[in-house]
Symmetry: C2
Subunit: 156 residues, 2 copies
């Protein structure tokens, strides 16, 4: 897989939270909405929390909430919070003469490809996704497993 399962899950969770920036959502509801296994989601939420993208509170009435304006959180930032996605800035073989800007043709091409992907991701915020109107709404499933895009049972 090109973008890891962890990245996929992190983006699902962030999109759901971005749709309700003023709401604290329980981990259980979030797991339902994103169709992510609860244990896996817990790990992902921990990473997102560590990166200060979300704020969590345990106990009764606890849950998770997006920590910043969804318009100011880029998709690439979410990906980087749970994994790595970097340009190639030095020769992977450690060949000195191949360092930037003199990456060899192979790594120059690979870097160019990675850059093309990152450009797309970096040019969109979570708000862009939530507010997207062309092509339907982003996730999620409702409790019956039916498509209920970004519905937490609350009015936005």
């Amino acid at each position: 897989m090109m973008l890891s399962q962890t990245v996929e899950y992190a983006l699902r969770a962030m999109v759901c939270l971005a749709a309700y920036p003023d709401t604290r959502v329980s981990a259980g509801v979030l797991a339902d909405q994103t169709a992510v296994p609860p244990d896996y989601l817990a790990k992902v939420l921990q990473l997102l929390s560590k990166a200060d993208l979300i704020a969590g509170r345990r106990g009764v009435g606890g849950g998770y909430q997006i920590a910043r304006d969804p318009g100011e959180i880029g998709v690439l930032e979410v990906i980087r919070a749970v994994g790595t996605l970097d340009r190639i800035t030095s020769c992977p073989l450690g060949i000195e003469s191949h360092g930037k800007p003199m990456l060899c043709p192979l790594h120059h091409l690979m870097d160019k490809a990675i850059g093309a992907m990152m450009d797309v991701l970096d040019n969109h915020s979570l708000a862009d996704i939530v507010e997207w109107t062309d092509g339907g709404q982003p996730l999620c499933l409702d409790k019956k497993g039916k498509p209920a895009p970004v519905s937490l049972g609350l009015k936005r």
Copy 2:
């Protein structure tokens, strides 16, 4: 890592073999040239062989040779021979109404990013890399660990 270690190693090996399309290169020389651990390289060569990108012969005088014209082998084809790199063609959550062309905004964006990367990789062949003149020659190290781009000790 965006492109896996296996992809990186496979591309190194293919670039080295593409530089000498008429030569059978031993696994040992190839490991030296690409700076790939021999055991790991053996697995990669097996995958490339299975995908009919290279032809191998064991024993004295044995080795590996590129199976087709380097100009006709795209970089993307090599990547796919050792792993997966695909567009998102259906909703990862299995939401029927999110199938193409109605991927939700999140997966539409992720697909667009993957597509941008694949376009770059698909538009270049191994010959393009070997014949690249802008920015130095592709790998490899010589036996003393010094940069000796695509040198198998043979005249091209």
